[in-house]
Amino acid sequence: MNQLLSKIATNDGHGENSAFFDGWKAYDSDPYHPTRNPSGVIQMGLAENQLSFDLIQEWVRNNPKASICTAEGSNDFKDIAIYQDYHGLPEFRNAVARFMEKVRGNRVRFDPDRIVMSGGATGAQETLAFCLADAGDALLVPTPYYPGNDRDLTWRTGIQLLPVVCDSSNDFKITRRALETAYKKAQESNIKVKGLLLNNPSNPLGTVIDRETLTDSLLFTNEKNIHLICDEIYSATVFSQPGFTSIAEIVQENSDCNRNLIHIVYSLSKDLGFPGFRVGIVYSYNDIVVNCARKMSSFGLVSTQTQHLIASMLSDDVFVDRFIAESSKRLETRHGTLSAGLAQVGIGSLKSNAGLYCWMDLRRLLKEATFEAELELWRVIINDVKLNVSPGASFHCSEPGWFRVCFANMDDETMMVALNRIHKFVIQKKGCDQGSGKKQCRRSKLEISLSFRRLDEMKMVASHKMSPHSPMSSPLVRART
């Protein structure tokens, strides 16, 4: 049977046959519950924003007309149900454009006619890859980066991702040197680089890219005449200074840059906490790309039922302003709780002001400064400490010992339980470890390119099929009619 399916269908490009699914497996088979399973695994590997849902719920309850299924809203049912124009409902595009402007403090304007729908940011990334590059071409991506990029950008497109190596010596900031090195390496291997992908705010770092770096990246891409894709999916999760600078602002400030090279990826999954509704957006300054992406959006349009609801919600200025402010506050508080809790036991995390996670520094807990040791520590954290956190290697981090830990997908009590477990673990470990010499180990750039091969050797195929996205404990997964 296998030879009758394509290579794409049978290779590992989807990324799910990796050792990192052990964490999901452990959580899935033993999920934490405060009363039913208080010693279960706590899910801290899912970057979801659940802290401000009560505000959304309140709005939906007070605005029955926004849903075509209510008595108040059902007059719109027919028109919404038959509308399949890939331009999308004008009111939806207008509302999304206005929302994106508000999130950027109204410092920029977005043209609703450049808003193109996609099947979540997952679909948006893939669409842009199809529009901008041919199979065999490459995109440069600063490390560490979101593991889904490998699937989204390369699986069906045939393009490759080349790392721009960043490290902790300067808090993982992207340097011109790193960009030039990556570009040169590609050229030496005869690989055509078509663009640079930035994630701002960053997953997994939780930091924003500063104005200088953004401007420099813009100059770099303009010089090389390559595209600049900015994934701004976490833009409304920025909760403290320095604030968020969007590439849209840099474009505004640099009127002589080549706008045809600039594209933004966005979604409502993180900022509003709606991953189930699949609202992805491609925003491009290039007319041909807008046109092409719009045709491709046929493969992943947003349900008009959802477009209608979102259009209504995001046009409510009072609600939106309140939501953005309140969500930031809650994220800041939760982030503070986690980072302070970690600091109490001497665990540092990268100073961050955005995102739904912390980038935790566990280097001093490693037996040795290797990725094998990181994996070993990770298995202990999952199986003994019972926390599903994500190891830096899964984000292609160049240094072992970093872990991403999510904080916005649980309630306060669960966060406390998690912190208690971390405290206990660190204290225990301090007692056990005697004189383990620390050896700083930086991976050479050559080793980065071999990293996946090494991980493949340790690969374990997840023994049962799982979705990498969903909360496994969702009652909807277990629902029976």
Binding site: C69, A81, G273, S298, F299, Q305, T306, T481
Partner: protein, 434 residues
């Protein structure tokens, strides 16, 4: 600077099929505001039974209310992004699929992959079943969207299986073999057959003979069959619809190798008239395919909101049965209205028992038996007579003079007006031409 895909024409939108829509957009008919505008007869949409859905929604506020249990349903849906889909929805969908196939086949919900419309399902199947440069054989005439959905980003080729009006465009074994040989000559490796049953644009269902030929051929060549059954809920007359799965069962081919090489595509866009909600699916007996396609569905998942709503609608079996029957009745009567109107003016329609359209024979109105004359006639029909109907060449029809005309996306009055305009067209042509 951009990819080849972005700059080529493989998106297929320069086809006359889509150009006609553009002309309609510029000058759309409205009975009050623009009575002389172009009537849209090129859009295969089912708008005949919305009142049934609307009244169901009015009566069923409780089960579809998001804000039940303090809004927790809404919250759970908003967070639900599992690519395996809502179990309740897939269960209802599998039962609905069986119901419209008169329960001659059972469907296992675990073998369903949900996709954003059948557009996404068809593309995903191509990614899973073929490499770039390989080919699928597709019977002509076929839906113009396949040029985009099957070929554009996948790099897969379509090799047409020729047909003829002499036998009402039926699929015959020699045509299958010819297409296969043609592919060989072009050095294209054939990976499968791609059929649409019921057919768009013909509106006919495949006979059990045709299904047998197709299955035997696929066994012989060791290739896949993709059966796009998106119009299966629009079968309004006999002969009854036979799904590819039923045909396999009848031949006792369950659990043989061909069993896992047959895949069905469907959607709720045509049956229920809900194209906006983007609810499509792939059904296959191949576990490996299901696994791969499920992962791919990440690029176009179905909104959880829409899954929930449809799980409730389909879960009301009494309503669904009533809807299916009433919908069929209305489609049948609407077709009759169009066909009898056209027949009066000498325009013949292919005998059809399904779909949202008729395949009409306008050869008598051609100035010459050529595709250029077909285009000439088409331009006259749009610009002089204000009707957007779809020319056969856009469906890769091997013979000029055939057009597809849709009948379920407008009011009766508008359809009546369209028929009168066709009369005017016929009257203006050579006397006794038709």
């Amino acid at each position: 600077m951009l990819s080849r895909k972005a700059t080529c024409k493989s998106h297929g939108e320069d086809s006359s099929y889509f150009l006609g829509w553009q002309e309609y957009e510029k000058n759309p008919h409205d009975p009050v505001r623009n009575p002389s505008g172009i009537i849209q007869l090129g859009l295969a949409e089912n708008q005949l039974s919305f009142d049934l859905l609307e009244s169901w929604i009015a009566k069923n506020q409780e089960p579809i209310g998001f804000m039940k249990k303090g809004g927790s349903i809404f919250r759970e849906l908003a967070l639900f992004q599992d690519y395996r889909g809502l179990p309740a929805f897939k269960k209802e969908l599998s039962e609905y699929m069986a119901a419209i196939r008169q329960d001659k086949v059972r469907f296992d919900p675990n073998n369903i992959v949900l996709t954003a419309g059948s557009t996404s399902a068809n593309e995903a199947l191509m990614f899973c079943l073929a490499e770039a440069g390989e080919a699928f054989l597709v019977p002509t005439p076929y839906y113009p969207g396949f040029d985009r959905d099957l070929k554009w980003r996948t790099g897969v080729e379509i090799v047409p299986i020729q047909s003829s009006s002499v036998n009402n465009f039926r699929i015959i074994p020699s045509a299958l073999e010819e297409a296969y040989q043609h592919a060989q000559k072009l050095h294209l490796k054939v990976k499968g057959l791609f059929i649409t049953n019921p057919s768009n644009p013909l509106g006919t269902t495949l006979s059990s003979h045709e299904l047998d030929h197709l299955i035997n051929f696929a066994i012989d060549k060791n290739i896949h069959i993709v059966s796009d059954e998106i119009y299966s809920g629009t079968v309004f007359d006999s002969p009854r619809f036979i799904s590819i799965m039923e045909a396999l069962k009848k031949k006792n081919l369950e659990n043989t190798t061909i069993w896992s090489r047959v895949h069905i595509v469907s959607s709720l866009s045509k049956d229920f008239g809900l194209p906006g909600f983007r609810i499509g699916m792939i059904y296959s007996n191949s576990e490996t395919l299901i696994a791969a396609a499920t992962k791919m569905s990440s690029f176009g998942l179905v909104s959880s909101q829409s899954q929930f709503l449809l799980s409730r609608i389909l879960g009301d079996k009494k309503f669904t049965r009533k809807y299916i029957m009433e919908n069929r009745k209305r489609l049948k009567s609407r077709r009759k209205m169009l066909v009898s109107g056209l027949q009066k003016y000498g325009i013949r329609c292919l005998e059809n028992n399904a779909g949202l359209f008729c395949w009409i024979d306008m050869r008598c109105l051609l100035s010459s038996y050529t595709f250029e004359a077909e285009m000439e006639l088409w331009r006259r029909i749009i610009f002089k007579y204000g009707l957007n109907i779809s020319p056969g060449s856009s469906f890769h029809c091997p013979e000029p003079g055939w057009f597809r005309i849709c009948f379920s996306n407008m009011s009766e009055e508008t359809l009546d007006l369209a028929v009168r305009r066709i009369k005017a067209l016929v009257d203006s042509s050579a006397p006794n031409a038709c």
